[in-house]
Amino acid sequence: MANVLIVAEQHAGHLRKASLHALSAGRELARRTGGRLAAALLGSGIDAAAAELAAHGVEVHVADAAVLEHPLAEAWAPVVADLARATGSTLVGAAATAVAKDVLPRVAARLEAGMATEVVGFGGEGSDLTFRRPMWAGNVLAEVEITTPVKVFTVRPTEFAAAPREGQGELRRAPVAVDAASLRTRHLGFVEVKSARPELTEARTIVAGGRGTKGDFRPVEALADALGAAVGATRAAVDAGWVPNDWQVGQTGKVVAPELYVAAGISGAIQHLAGMKGSRVIVAVNKDPDAPIFQIADYGLVADLFPALPELQAKLR
């Protein structure tokens, strides 16, 4: 029997939606292994988020301490590892966010565990459990086995439904034995990308721009706003400093799966496709009829984006 611990995340007092997707993955694992599911929440002043999490019917271990205010991997890893031991959890996972990718490998090292990143599905039961995950920028799906007694993983939120609100889980205080003075890492600051738009990973519609915008994202943003959509970008646009890094979609950026993804001035490199090919409907606007993006787009429009996007915006109204 393997108990499951899902590490949830909160930001500014609110539970992150990605964590509810990870909770579903945890439920599935508990079912496959016959174990119990518990969740952990770390931070400082996180009661509201913890209550929100518990309302999804899971026992929540709350590690609330000033030293955990910022997600410093060095400080968080021992707390999570101790909790895994205390709850007898041999499966420890989280949504594949920047925080989890930073922290969980350190947790795995402490627990002498192997780890699988960006898991999209599970196979087998009990001791035969396997993890399905993409490799080579999504060109390959691998079925991997983790041979250590404890197994650590992150899941891709788009591949698991959000856990519904059901039942009421218990809230428990988790011990925090981290000495702030011994930490070798210090948080100096955070510059938030402020936006009134929906978050990329949660948006129903995304309008994304690439190098074809030549740095002018106005038509992309205007269409996005008309559709109530989030704005995405390619690495080329981020590297050029045209848009914040937080907008990057792809192998090394965010993985999204909206109902509708409009790609404008984007060639369709495999590293970009890795982040958006799970979208339900893909529209490509590109002036090069041979651009690879057309090979995966449901609807391709060979056109200059500068007149095409405003026209689309006007006609969708």
């Binding site: 991997a73 490998p105 390959v140 691998a142 955070f190 510059v191 400093g241 529209v283 009829p289 609807y299």
Partner: protein
């Protein structure tokens, strides 16, 4: 203060290559595939060279793998790294094993800073640096980036994004996280992993390539380092992901709007 910098150089499939799974699912088709230095490691090497230019010191580059990994070590030496370490290992690897081996090399070399890529573009695990930091009990700053863009003046001048304090005791790192950009200060020695926007790696010059041929590469058999070499993440089977069928080209915006409304019901 001169800095001793340890950087990693993994041999991986060229990101431009077409990757296909063998029909029996045991691996990928390697015929016709080019190999190169992992793009994130290229950025790590570049960053180390910039730090060396600024502070003085030494850049030691390490690769773990079979005989051919020497090619990637030479590529890093041609960019300007000072010497190479080849941890010779012919079997499969995973971040558990890689980090255990790197920890041994770290203990031998005692660098001020280890710079790794944030992920290998073959296994896409994004773990080795974090495992390494925990094994060594060090602080880490993953996904290192910088405020300036790759088109900025600072980038033209090849200034490092990592800021090491004048007394060589701390490094300040700007990192890409969800929702924005975070700044951390980490006490040295430390482990940093690179994101894409940290720098634009230089191309090796012809004299650089010539010089690299004479630079030292020390081979260390992995088995001599006293590390369990069995991967803990075992790949059982590979498969092609479900293919996405391309659809149709539309004649104009009117047709696109009609299709989105009536056919796809997406707006």
């Amino acid at each position: 203060m001169p800095l001793k910098l340890l950087v990693t150089a993994k041999r991986v499939e060229d990101p431009e290559s077409r990757i296909q799974v063998k029909p029996d699912g045991t691996g990928i088709v390697t015929e016709g595939v080019n190999y190169k230095l992992n793009p994130f490691d290229e950025i790590a090497v570049e960053e180390a060279l910039r730090l060396e230019e600024q502070h003085g010191g030494e850049v030691v580059v390490v690769s773990i793998g079979g005989a051919r990994a020497v090619t990637e070590l030479r590529a890093a030496l041609a960019m300007g790294a000072d010497r190479g370490i080849h941890v010779r290992h012919d079997g499969p690897l995973d971040p558990v094993v890689v980090s255990a081996l790197l920890a041994k090399v770290f203990e031998q070399e005692k660098p001020d800073l280890a710079i790794l890529g944030k992920q290998s573009i073959d296994d896409d695990q994004n773990q080795a640096g974090q495992y390494l930091a925990e094994r060594l009990g060090l602080g880490q700053a993953t996904f290192a980036s910088k405020h300036d863009s790759l088109e900025s003046e600072a980038e033209q001048k090849r200034l490092p994004g990592l800021a090491v304090s004048a007394d060589g005791t701390r490094v300040t790192v700007v990192r890409e996280v969800d929702g924005g950009v975070e700044t951390l200060e980490v006490r040295l020695p430390a482990v940093v992993t690179t994101d894409l926007r940290l720098n634009k790696p230089r191309f090796a010059s012809l004299p650089g390539i010539m010089k690299a041929k004479k630079k030292e590469i020390r081979e260390i058999p992995a088995a001599s380092l006293g590390v369990d070499l069995t991967p803990k993440v075992a790949v059982r089977k590979l498969a092609a992901p479900p293919a996405r069928k391309g659809g149709v080209k539309v004649a104009d915006v009117d047709e696109l709007v009609r299709k989105l409304r009536d056919e796809a019901k997406a707006v």
